[in-house]
């Protein structure tokens, strides 16, 4: 019974994995693979059911076992068809018709008479199979079809230029050979050794080929052989260490005659969960990827410690050295967005060389990529790149690169890091890809620095051209999608104590009636805070494009501040969505001290920001975040302010405080948002004797409602 359950389970798994493989871009290969999986699942189900019925209904059992035999051959025939045109899945009408005819012939030969199987019975726990005169011939033919498919795949693998397709061909071939060997052991060797109780498990033999093929067709990157070896070894050890106690548990249950199926299954499941968790913890601590993570952290730290004040050549030279040492790349280039919107090579060499103009056919494919790291093998084998495959491959060829790391601000590409082939001749692997992903945030900071700051030495900028830097930062600050809508009147002010500051206000239009906005203050002062602010603003815009979940968007912003921005950087502010069609504001308080709401139905101004946690203090802030919703009746207003206003002091050391702010907001009832801001600034400046000692960001939102639409 247990073996039969295993066979049914394998049928379900085969169907599941078959339909998990994405068919985009390789529809024919995947369709043929799915046919193989369906035939394999049918083979497993018919075989298991057939042997299950052998004791009580020998007639039905015989029919099912004959169809199981046909299914076994069909699955290998499908693999043979796959091998003919792998990896490009061409349509061959004549060949397909021949395969169809052969499948019909197989069905007829297996099911129409006693040639394959004459009778099956079950006596006690033994299965007795009366094989037909052609049984051995059919079984041999089936195995040969599978082996032929594997041989053709191996030959094609050697002929294919793409290394990732070669890897796929070899993996599928290995899976087929594994299935043939599995089938031989359980269907021939064990019964010959007197263990014919193993017959039902023969139906599960195809799972090796199906799992291998599913994995192969989904893989777009080359395996890192030591990692694969380590994974296999760890799994074997896990089974030995943790599977044995589970087996012992089931054995003890049977010993105590707890042989009822439900109890065995329930206990087995519970044991699987409990022991599985223990095994997982053990694997993580003993042979997990701790060492890889350590190495990645060191790499991240090395990049984070590059001194950005040393000038572009020095920064990129140091980065090149780090990447060369870590990945063994033959060469490293950096492309940066130029003023015309194209990409120019800024490293190596002092002169900027245009690699792609703004109207180059590569710009759009790069802009549309939704990932920051791309290996050449991805472009070749990943269906997700099918739309722009030619242009992207040509870009890789033009550069001679094997890996690209993209720094993007929304759809704009601000920088591209290109790595050439490895000096060792080995290809970039999954492990390299994961390392690239780990350092992506750090490289983004470098790209941003190169694009916006490093055209002059940073020190020189600070000392000689602070005015220019101020202009750059102001320009970035003012680049927003202003909230312009008949239902609302919005005004804001960002004011720094010095020329440069970390005050941040940004709004992004999401749809006709909806905007995202962020208000706050990046800690620190002067150029450092300003740099952090512009980088953070870009990153929030990039994350906004990628992340649909509001809380996760804020959590990812927090992780970026904590891990990528200089130590001690934090952000106090609020993130919000305003839905003007519904008259609602959703916001997350991340340490904003003042959000005041004035409704026409209320005489008083109320404080609505609630508690909030600033970003940049802990790695994972998600558990601390709460989304608040505020309904905006027509005529209501909202004022959001950073701490600069409420904490400003006069010469006597008195604080401006929230009460004064509330009074000014109440007095501004009926005025425009712009006038409300002016009144707040005037009052606070006057209170602090003309000198507010902190950066100030205030946003005022007056909601008029949707009366205009109805009019």
């Amino acid at each position: 019974m247990g073996l039969t359950i295993f066979t049914y389970l394998s049928a379900a798994i085969m169907l599941f994995v078959a339909f998990r493989v994405r068919s985009t871009g390789r529809r024919r290969d995947v369709t043929v693979f799915r046919l193989a999986a369906i035939a394999s699942a049918g083979y497993a189900s018919c075989l298991a059911t057939g042997y299950l019925l052998a004791a009580d209904d020998a007639g039905t059992a015989l029919i099912l076992l004959r169809w199981a035999g046909a299914g076994a051959i069909w699955s290998f025939m499908a693999f043979l068809r796959l091998s003919f045109t792998f990896p490009y899945g061409r349509r061959l009408v004549l060949v397909d018709l021949l395969f169809l005819a052969a499948a019909g012939l197989v069905a007829w030969q297996f099911t129409a008479g006693d040639a394959y199987l004459a009778e099956v019975r079950r006596v006690a726990l033994e299965f007795i199979r009366f094989e037909g005169p052609s049984y051995s011939l059919f079984a041999m033919a089936g195995a040969l079809v599978g082996i032929l498919a594997a041989v053709i795949l191996v030959i094609r693998g050697f002929m294919i230029k793409s290394r990732v397709y070669r890897q796929q061909a070899f993996l599928i071939a290995a899976g087929i050979v594994g299935s043939v060997a599995f089938g031989y052991v359980v269907s021939i060797y064990l019964p010959q050794a007197g263990q014919n109780v193993a017959y039902p498990i023969g139906g599960a033999s195809r799972i090796v080929a199906i799992l291998a093929s599913s994995y192969a067709l989904s893989s777009t990157r080359l395996f890192h052989v030591p990692t694969v070896a380590k994974t296999i070894l760890s799994r074997v050890l896990l089974i030995a260490l943790f599977g044995a106690p589970l087996g012992l548990l089931v054995g003890v249950m049977l010993l105590f005659r707890l042989s009822m199926l439900f109890i065995v299954l329930a206990a087995g499941f519970a044991g699987f969960i409990l022991i599985g968790r223990a095994a997982d913890r053990f694997a993580q601590s003993r042979f997990g990827s701790a060492r890889d993570e350590e190495s990645r952290e060191e790499l991240e730290a090395a990049i984070a410690h590059i001194d950005l004040s040393a000038g572009r050549e020095s920064v990129l030279g140091e980065l090149s050295g780090i990447l060369a040492q870590e990945f063994g790349a033959q060469w490293f280039w950096m492309l940066s967005e130029d003023d015309a919107g194209g990409l120019s090579r800024v490293f190596p060499g002092n002169d900027e060389v245009v690699v792609a103009n703004a109207d180059s056919p590569i710009i759009e494919p790069l802009a549309s990529l939704d990932r920051g790291v791309v290996l050449k093998t991805d472009i070749v084998a990943d269906p997700a790149f099918a739309l722009h495959k030619t242009a992207l491959l040509q870009f890789f060829e033009t550069l001679g690169a094997e890996a690209l790391i993209l720094a993007k601000e929304g759809r704009r590409i601000i920088g591209v890091f290109a790595l050439g082939p490895k000096r060792s001749g080995v290809d970039y692997s999954v492990l390299d890809y994961e390392s690239f992903q780990a350092i992506h945030g750090k490289l983004f900071v470098v790209a941003y620095y190169v694009r916006h700051v490093a055209r002059e030495s940073l020190l020189a900028t600070v000392e000689k051209e602070i005015g220019l830097a101020d202009q750059i930062v102001r320009a970035v600050q003012e680049t927003i999608d202003p909230i312009r809508h008949p239902a609302v009147d919005v005004a804001f002010v960002c004011q720094s104590t010095r020329q440069l500051g970390g005050d941040l206000y940004d709004s992004v239009r999401l749809s006709e009636h909806r905007w995202f906005f962020v208000v706050g203050d990046v800690s620190g002062k002067g150029l450092n805070a300003a740099m952090s602010m512009v980088i953070l603003k870009s990153m929030i815009r990039t994350l906004l494009r990628e992340e649909k979940d509001f809380i996760k968007l804020v959590a990812r912003t927090n992780a970026f501040i904590k891990e990528q921005l200089p130590r001690g950087t934090f952000f106090a502010g609020a993130f919000g969505f305003i839905a003007l069609d519904k008259g609602s504001v959703y916001f997350i308080n991340c340490g904003i001290p003042a959000v005041f709401f004035h409704s026409p139905g209320l005489e008083t101004v109320i404080e609505v920001q609630g508690d909030g946690k600033m970003l940049g203090f802990v790695k994972n802030i998600e558990p601390y975040l709460k989304t608040r919703k505020l309904a905006l009746p027509p005529g209501s207003s909202l004022v959001i302010s950073t701490d600069g206003i409420v904490e400003s002091e006069n010469v006597r050391g008195e604080r401006y405080g929230k009460e004064r702010l509330v009074r000014i907001i109440a007095e501004s009832k009926g005025t425009s948002a712009e006038d409300t801001i002016k009144a707040i600034l005037k009052s606070a400046t006057s209170f602090s004797d003309g000198k507010i000692e902190d950066d100030v960001t205030v946003v005022a939102i007056n909601y008029h409602g949707r009366k205009e639409k109805r009019a």
Binding site: T497, S523, P593, D643, E693
Partner: protein, 109 residues
């Protein structure tokens, strides 16, 4: 404009920085220079009992010092924060990120 004083002294294994005055965007560089000099190199205590006001600039300096110390495996304690500095620390929502003791006598050995 009122300035601050940041005076270093030794107490056992600790270097104690005693801060007096307001920590704001005009004065924080003094504190930053001193904390950068010691944080992560020695066990450090920052006495904030004499701080008359503290803006986010001060929080940023102390947070950076704590992170430097953590990265280097050294200790950093905030000592006896004045009411305004305690409120500033609590306003972050992460008061627990600032290891605090009531007086220099309570610094762990």
């Amino acid at each position: 404009m009122t300035g601050i004083s940041v005076e270093p002294s030794e107490r056992g294994k600790y270097t104690v920085l005693t801060v007096n005055g307001p920590i704001n965007s005009y004065t924080f560089t003094e504190l930053q220079e001193k904390t950068m000099k010691y944080a992560g190199k020695v066990d450090l205590a920052v006495d904030l009992s004499g701080v008359s006001s503290m803006t986010s600039a001060g929080i940023g300096v102390i947070l950076a010092a704590i992170e430097d110390a953590e990265a280097a495996g050294k200790r950093l304690f905030v000592v006896a924060p004045s009411e305004v500095s305690r409120l500033a620390i609590e306003s972050t929502g992460f008061g627990e990120r600032f290891p605090t003791v009531a007086s220099v006598k309570e610094l762990p050995a």
